[in-house]
Amino acid sequence: MTKQNRLRQFFFPSLRLKTLARVVLVALIAYIFFGHTCIPFRIKGRSMEPTYANGHVNFCWTPYHIFSEPARYDVALIRFAGKKVMLLKRIVAMEDETVEFRDGKLLVDGKKIEEPYLKYPCNWNLAPRKVRKDHVYVVGDNRDMPIKNHNFGQTSISRIVGTTLW
């Protein structure tokens, strides 16, 4: 078989049962992998800057839950009614912990939490509140905006779909 024929056979294979089976298998694997395991998404918004910039593409790694429990500092994708639109936030407190913002500093159970990922100034103040059972407290990395404009708070662990691949 000449090189040209081999190329033609690779890109335009003859319609045999074996070829069809391969195509179906590849499509099925791609659907399971990119539809449910490693879901591609595009970041829209500045709430996680500078860690995740507006417009960048990443993947939501859903087996995250299988191998480990959500932990502080993890980045989590939180679903609404489904997985088409999700929130990208960082977990800062776990259940039964008390969260507070004082002059831009995050306090968990009254102790200041180190947040090396923060690059922008913050002047938020928020009265202490307790994280309910089976919930986590999530906030974005960009706190250089008025507190009322930033979407954050406690959410059910069941809403966490996965984490970012990088």
Partner: protein
């Protein structure tokens, strides 16, 4: 020649039959989804929308709600019943501050709880521009109850689900 003519006519009748079947025998799930599509269209607003179009859309929104439509917004402590007469006024007030408005329902999940009763959960993406020129965008989850008193599905309640509680 005659046979070809009959074959073409037969094919056309078959295609028309398929279209009629799809149009008249929609599943209840499709009918509820169509209701969300219609609500999305009526809620959205184009720049320079004339009064006639606006009046028509607002009237349609009013007619898509059942008697004593219940609106629940926990974040703003709103729990209120609206009569069919009040709905157009509410819709007009909500649309008023925007020059353009797009309302999209994503990830619609429908569950038929009883005969002629359904519950639907959806992610609402709300984007547009305010009259002051600033862009407006919001995403939230909504849980709706629908009833079918006659031959149309009507919204009987809508509750904004708090995904993140500050």
């Amino acid at each position: 020649m005659v046979k070809v003519k009959y074959a073409i006519i037969g094919t056309m009748i078959l295609i028309a039959g398929i279209f009629i079947f799809i149009y008249f025998f929609q599943s209840e799930d499709k009918k509820v989804r169509k209701r969300f599509d219609q609500l999305s269209e009526w809620s959205s607003k184009d720049q320079g929308e004339d009064h006639f179009t606006m009046a028509g859309k607002i009237k349609n929104i009013g007619e898509s709600c059942a008697e004593d439509f219940m609106l629940i917004i926990p974040e703003k402590s709103i729990v209120r019943k609206y009569s069919p007469k009040e709905i157009p006024g509410l819709a007009a007030r909500l649309r008023l501050p925007f020059i353009t408005l797009t309302v999209k329902f994503n990830d619609i999940q429908i569950e038929f709880t009883k005969k002629k009763k359904a519950k639907a959960v959806a992610t609402v993406i709300f984007s547009g521009s305010r009259k002051e020129g600033e862009p407006a965008e919001d995403i939230f989850e909504v849980e709706c109850s629908l009833i079918k008193p006659e031959n149309k599905w009507l919204f009987s309640s809508a509750e904004i689900v708090e995904v993140l509680e500050k």
